[in-house]
C-alpha cells in the first residue's frame, strides 16, 4: 500500500512537472504536508523545488478550486489537482462564469475518501504525535503506541462518507485510475432524521448549533459556490444583517448562506469541514438538494454543465411546497 502511494506520488509529480516546467502552466495548485502527519495544506507550486513538497495523501482535504479566481488575476494558466468533489466545484465555477476554463488545466485525482483528524484524535487522545497510520484497502491501522485497526469508512470525514462521486468529472487528465462511483452511500440520512423529529425539537437543535456560531464566515470563505464580490452579510446599504451574534441573526446568516447555494452546492462539504465549532452545516445544503430532487427532478451541481440549474428554469406544471 505504502509503495503504491509512493508510486502514485511519482506519477502525479511527473505528470504535473512536465506541464509546469514546460511552461504550459504557470502555477500548480496542489497540497503539501503541514505541521503534522495528519495535516496537509494547499501548495502553490511554481518550480521544481516547490514540486518536491507536493503531496497526495488522506489529508489533502482543502478544495483548491476556490483559489482560481484570485490566482487567475496573476497567472495566465493554472494547473490544479482536483478530487471528485473539487472537480464539481470547478465545473460549477465555470458555469457561473467565475473561472475561464480555458485557462485551467485540471488534473483529476480519484479519491478514496479522506480521513478526519478529529476522529483520529478521538482514537488516540493527546498521543497523536507519537502515532502514525498505515492505510490498507479498507482498513487503517494506528501504529506507534497503539496498534489498533479500524475500518477506513469509520475514520472518513463526514463529507467523504456521503460522497457519491469520488472520481473527478470534466478534468483534462485523470492522474490515477478511477475508484468508481459510490452511489450506494446515503446522502440524506441525517436530513431525513432531522425532518422526522418534531418542529420544536428541530428548532432547539438548530438553536443549540447556531448559538455557538462565531460568525467567522469560514464556511462562506471556503465554499466554492460563494463567489459574490460582496456578500449580503457585509453590505451596509442595505444592511441585511447585523453583526451581533444574536440567535436570529445567526439563523438568518446560516439559512441564507445555504439558500444562496441552492442549485449550486457541489457537496464538497468544506463549509462543515472548516467550521471551528463543528456546526453541521452540510445538513442545510443537503436538505435543499434533497428537496430539489424531490420537487424538480434530480440535479447534482457541477456534474453536467449543460443542464439548467434548477432555480433558473421551470416547468409550467411544477409542483409547489405550499397550498397554491
Amino acid at each position: 500500500m505504502a509503495e503504491r502511494r509512493i508510486n502514485n506520488m511519482e506519477k502525479i509529480r511527473t505528470a504535473v512537472a512536465q506541464d509546469l516546467l514546460s511552461g504550459r502552466i504557470d502555477l500548480l495548485l496542489g497540497w503539501e504536508k503541514g505541521l503534522y502527519w495528519w495535516q496537509s495544506r494547499p501548495l502553490f507550486a511554481r518550480n521544481s523545488e516547490d514540486l518536491q513538497r507536493l503531496t497526495w495523501d488522506s489529508f489533502c482535504v482543502a478544495n483548491l478550486s476556490g483559489y482560481l479566481q484570485e490566482e487567475l488575476k496573476e497567472n495566465k494558466k493554472i494547473g490544479i489537482l482536483l478530487k471528485g468533489c473539487d472537480s464539481r466545484a470547478l465545473n460549477r465555477l465555470v458555469q457561473d462564469q467565475m473561472v475561464d476554463r480555458e485557462r485551467v488545466v485540471a488534473y483529476g485525482l480519484p479519491c478514496p475518501g479522506l480521513l478526519d483528524p478529529r476522529l483520529l484524535k478521538q482514537e488516540a487522545g493527546l498521543e497523536l504525535t507519537a502515532l502514525g497510520i498505515e492505510e490498507g484497502e479498507d482498513r487503517v491501522t494506528l501504529t506507534g503506541t497503539k496498534g489498533k485497526s479500524i475500518a477506513r469508512e469509520e475514520l472518513l470525514l463526514e463529507k467523504c462518507r456521503r460522497c457519491h462521486h469520488p472520481d473527478p468529472v470534466g478534468c483534462d487528465q485523470l492522474l490515477l485510475p478511477p475508484v468508481g462511483s459510490r452511489e450506494d452511500r446515503s446522502r440524506f440520512h441525517q436530513v431525513t432524521r432531522l425532518e422526522e423529529i418534531p418542529a420544536e425539537e428541530r428548532f432547539a437543535y438548530w438553536s443549540s448549533q447556531f448559538e455557538r456560531c462565531l460568525r467567522c464566515y469560514a464556511c462562506r470563505e471556503a465554499c466554492p459556490c460563494c463567489s459574490c464580490r460582496e456578500c449580503f452579510v457585509e453590505q451596509e446599504e442595505p444592511r441585511w444583517l447585523g453583526k451581533a451574534h444574536e440567535n436570529s441573526e445567526n439563523f438568518i446568516y446560516h439559512l441564507t448562506r445555504a439558500f444562496h447555494s441552492a442549485g449550486r452546492c457541489v457537496e464538497c462539504g468544506e463549509c462543515q469541514r472548516v467550521c471551528p465549532v463543528e456546526l453541521p452545516l452540510m445538513e442545510l445544503s443537503s436538505k435543499i438538494i434533497k428537496d430539489i430532487n424531490e420537487l424538480y427532478g434530480e440535479y447534482q451541481a457541477g456534474l453536467d454543465t449543460e443542464q439548467d440549474p434548477p432555480l433558473l428554469t421551470y416547468q409550467p406544471d411544477d409542483p409547489a411546497a405550499f397550498v397554491e
Binding site: 495544506r41 467567522c216 469560514a218 471556503a222
Partner: protein
C-alpha cells in the same frame, strides 16, 4: 493553604458556584470544547488542553449593547444600556496558564492603556479566575516558547491542578483566598505540600529572542507573498485566538428606536479597514495576514513590550489551510537549529 476536592464531588462544586453567580468553565460540544455558563446537563471537560474557542469572551463578549436610542421628529435621546451579567460575581474556572497570560495581555489594552474600557474592566473586576495547570501538552501547544510555565498562572486568583483523583486549589490573590473560603465547605485541606506535577515543555523549537527587532525592516519581505496565499480570508484565527481583541461598533434598530452595540471584528475581513471613501490600506489577504502576524510578533511587543501570542496552539489546530503561528514564525526564520 492548598485545598482539594475529589472528582466525584465536582458537580456539587459547580452547582454551588453557579448558585453564587455565572460560572464559566470548559464544556464539550461535539468534539469541540468551549467555555460556557454552567448549567445542569453540561458536560464539563477539565482534561481538554485548550478549548476550541478561547475564554476571552468571558471578558470581551462576542457582542454587547451599551446604549439605547430613541428618535422622534428631529429629537434624539441616548441612554446607557443596562450592563448585563454584572449584577452577580462571576467565576471563570479552568482557564489554562496560556489563557491567563492572554487575559493579562488584553488588560494592557483595555485596562492599562488610557482611557480604560469600562465594559471590560467591570467584567474583569467582577470575575474570580480559577486557573487550571496543564498536566500534559497538546500536540499544538507551544506556550513555553513565550516563557509561559504550563503549571503556573501568576495572574489567576486561584491555581488548580489535578493529581490523580484530586483537584488541588491554591489561592494566589486575596480574592482567591476569599473564594476558597466561601467554598470551603466542599473543599478539604491538603495533607502535605502539594505542587502541580511538572510538564514537558512545548515550544516547537522556536527561538523568539530578537524576533520583533528582526522583523522591523522586513515589512516588504517577499516571504509574505508565500505565507498568505492559501488564506481563505475567514476570521477563524482571530475569533478563536485568546489575544485578538478587535471590535466593531454597530447600530441596531429602526428610525424611531434601537440600540448600539459592539461586537468582535476581525482584521482578516476585507471590510475591516475599508473606508467610506473606498480607500483600503489593507486591500488584499496579503496585507491582512501580514498585519495579524506582525501585530502579534512586532507591533504588540513594540507598544506593550510583550509578545501578542501565548502559544495556545488554537490557530495550529483550527486554521483550515495550515497558516498558523508556528509555520509563520518558522517561515520568518525564527527556529533554532538545535532541535
Amino acid at each position: 493553604m492548598t485545598k482539594y476536592i475529589t472528582s466525584e464531588r465536582l458537580p456539587e462544586l459547580w452547582a454551588r458556584l453557579a448558585d453564587r453567580g455565572p460560572l464559566y468553565l470548559p464544556v464539550n460540544e461535539g468534539t469541540a470544547v468551549a467555555f460556557r455558563a454552567w448549567e445542569e446537563g453540561k458536560e464539563v471537560n477539565l482534561e481538554a488542553v485548550n478549548s476550541t474557542v478561547s475564554p476571552k469572551e468571558i471578558f470581551l463578549p462576542a457582542w454587547e449593547t451599551y446604549l439605547k436610542f430613541e428618535r422622534a421628529g428631529k429629537k434624539l435621546a441616548l441612554a446607557p444600556a443596562d450592563a448585563n451579567g454584572l449584577a452577580r460575581p462571576v467565576t471563570a474556572f479552568g482557564l489554562r496558564p496560556c489563557d491567563l497570560r492572554a487575559i493579562e495581555l488584553l488588560d494592557l489594552v483595555f485596562v492599562e492603556q488610557d482611557p480604560p474600557d469600562e465594559l471590560y474592566t467591570r467584567r474583569r473586576k467582577n470575575t474570580t479566575i480559577v486557573a487550571l495547570a496543564c498536566s500534559q501538552p497538546d500536540p499544538f501547544c507551544f506556550c513555553t516558547a513565550f516563557g509561559i510555565e504550563p503549571t503556573d498562572a501568576p495572574g489567576a486568583d486561584v491555581l488548580a491542578w489535578k493529581t490523580g483523583n484530586r483537584l488541588f486549589m491554591e489561592a494566589r490573590t486575596p480574592r482567591g483566598e476569599d473564594w476558597l473560603e466561601e467554598n470551603s465547605r466542599l473543599l478539604q485541606e491538603a495533607e502535605g505540600v502539594e505542587k502541580p506535577p511538572p510538564v514537558e515543555s512545548a515550544d516547537f523549537g522556536l527561538a523568539l529572542e530578537g524576533l520583533p527587532e528582526n522583523l522591523k525592516g522586513r515589512f516588504e519581505d517577499p516571504i509574505w507573498d508565500q505565507i498568505y496565499r492559501s488564506c481563505l480570508g475567514c476570521g477563524i484565527c482571530t475569533y478563536i485566538c485568546p489575544t485578538c481583541y478587535c471590535f466593531d461598533i454597530q447600530d441596531y434598530g429602526h428610525q424611531e428606536q434601537g440600540e448600539r452595540f459592539r461586537c468582535w471584528d476581525s482584521c482578516q475581513f476585507s471590510h475591516y479597514t475599508l473606508t467610506a471613501g473606498g480607500n483600503n490600506p489593507r486591500p488584499t489577504r496579503k496585507e491582512r495576514v501580514r498585519n495579524r502576524f506582525l501585530h502579534k510578533l512586532q507591533f504588540y511587543p513594540e507598544r506593550y513590550e510583550e509578545f501578542g501570542c501565548v502559544g495556545c496552539g488554537r490557530c495550529l489546530r483550527s486554521c483550515p489551510v495550515g497558516i498558523d503561528m508556528v509555520s509563520v514564525i518558522r517561515a520568518l526564520g525564527g527556529e533554532t537549529v538545535a532541535r
